[in-house]
């Protein structure tokens, strides 16, 4: 069974926000909400400073706390790809999943249910990349099956040093950032 994930090259990402606009357009994300966004993290002490620009979204964790805390089963893991999805018709809007997410990747849709990145599963099922990946002008994002050692995403993880965000939260995220 596939296990979808994403590998993001922080040396290529320039923070142009094309991915953000593509996601909003593809998924009808309401004003004031974001399924993906850009983070700029500056670390170090002058003159030894390091700037990392990266695109962020739901990490579709292998141990998703948002799924285990959901009282109705609205938040669930869906195949193909073990993608974390919310079924709007089951969501009561209790917001426990928002509180449980260390990445703050969820928001309340104006219609009342909780919404988030779906890895554009509707596109992936048709053999397309997620909208954010397909528009990236620097091709910094690679989407694929992390359980397939031959996938482009897996090969990048074999070849390059990489890190995840907040591994200490213990959710086993599936978005990897190349150093």
């Amino acid at each position: 069974m596939a296990r979808y994930g994403m590998v993001i090259d922080t040396r290529r990402c320039v923070g142009c926000m094309d991915c953000v606009v593509a996601c909003k357009t593809e998924n009808g994300v309401p004003d004031g909400a974001s399924r993906d966004w850009i983070a700029q993290e500056a670390t170090g002490t002058f003159p030894h400073l390091h700037l990392e620009i990266r695109t962020e979204r739901c990490n579709h964790c292998d141990r998703p706390p948002c799924v285990s805390c959901c009282p109705t089963g609205a938040s669930h893991v869906e195949d193909p790809g073990r993608v974390v999805i919310v079924t709007a018709g089951k969501c009561i809007g209790c917001k426990a999943c928002i509180a449980s997410c260390p990445y703050d990747a969820r928001y309340v849709h104006p219609d009342g249910y909780v919404d988030k990145c779906t890895f554009c599963l509707h596109r992936v099922k048709e053999g397309l990349d997620p909208a954010c990946v397909s528009v990236c002008p620097t091709r910094c994002m690679t989407f694929g099956d992390l359980d397939d050692p031959g996938s482009a995403a897996s090969r990048l993880l074999q070849e390059r040093r990489h890190h995840a965000l907040l591994p200490e939260a213990g959710t086993d995220p599936r978005i990897w950032y190349l150093d």
Partner: protein, 310 residues
């Protein structure tokens, strides 16, 4: 230096998570108080105190039903997708404390209704033969079952709310198993304070004041353990502890929760129990206000805490 800039600014999430307003602390307080009242009712039923007249156990079930309903209303008001609330009862999610809680609440209502039958108001007696038969069973052969159900469901209701918060591991302030017992004993002390005020028998009132002192003492100990656990934990937990040690919630926590909500009523009630001063509603009212303040601080500070330092 570490500086993080996000292009995202989602309402109620950035820069500080604040998805739960007054509704959740109010529900946690009222639910906790009802849980404590059920345990006290169970104690009365199992020890035979319910046969004494007057007995607070004749008032507590109806009062608890009203308070729990008010808490449930607050919980309902917090939901964003209100018309889908029935979805809670189309499934049982083993890993979700909120699912456990919703089913516990379904059991609590009939249990409190059974407790109401043990000492029903005089105006209802003789009105319907079936009601009288049920009341006779409740106060006779059924009393032990009803008493045990009050204790079991009271403990479950009181403790699940703390487990619910501590299961949300993304918020380091809530990452403590102590929250369950802390909410349970805070609920017990609130229930004892409420019973202290509604009891018409001075001896019973004194008994609940003594019980309240014990609950408050345990609550203080649990708060200390809770803070020690956070301070001894990893960096994110230490940062979370600082929210109440030298951060934005420090004043309200130490003044309203610990000072006015626990220590002062403990001193006042200890003097009253020792017959040094008269019993007044001041101490129990402070206990109730302190219990509510505790829920507000825990819920708000928990949302404030985060794995990263933004």
């Amino acid at each position: 230096m570490r500086e993080l800039t996000l292009t995202r600014h989602t309402e109620a999430i950035d820069p500080i998570l604040h998805i739960w307003g007054w509704e959740i602390p109010v529900y946690l307080f009222l639910g906790g108080m009802v849980a404590g009242a059920m345990i006290l009712l169970g104690y009365s039923f199992l020890t035979g105190r319910h046969r004494q007249r007057p007995c607070a156990c004749s008032v507590l079930p109806a009062l608890s039903l009203a308070l729990l309903s008010a808490g449930m209303l607050a919980l309902f008001l917090d939901l964003e997708h209100k018309l889908y609330v029935w979805r809670l009862y189309t499934t049982f999610e083993l890993g979700s404390p909120m699912s456990w809680g919703s089913w516990i609440l379904v059991l609590v209502y009939p249990a409190l209704a059974a407790a109401f039958l043990v000492r029903p108001p005089a105006i209802l007696r003789g009105a319907w033969p079936a009601f009288d038969r049920a009341a006779a069973w409740a106060s006779g052969r059924g009393i032990r079952v009803i008493g045990a159900a009050q204790v079991a469901l009271g403990v479950a209701l009181g403790i699940y709310t703390g487990i619910l918060l501590s299961s949300l591991g993304a918020r380091p302030f809530w990452s403590s198993a102590i929250l369950g017992p802390l909410f349970l004993f805070s609920g017990l002390s609130s229930a004892a304070a409420l019973t202290h005020m509604v009891a018409r028998d001075p001896e019973e009132s004194r008994m609940f004041a003594r019980a309240d002192n014990a609950f408050l003492g345990v609550e203080l100990l649990l708060i200390a353990l809770f803070l020690i656990g956070l301070v001894q934990g990893p960096a994110a937990h230490r940062e979370a502890a600082h929210l109440v040690l030298d951060g934005p919630f420090t004043a309200v926590f130490w003044v309203f929760v610990v000072g006015l909500g626990i220590v002062l009523p403990l001193v006042v009630q200890s003097l009253a129990v020792a017959h040094r001063i008269a019993h007044t509603p001041v101490a129990p009212l402070l206990v109730l206000a302190g219990g509510l303040a505790l829920r507000f601080v825990i819920v708000y500070a928990g949302q404030y805490s985060h794995w990263t330092r933004l």
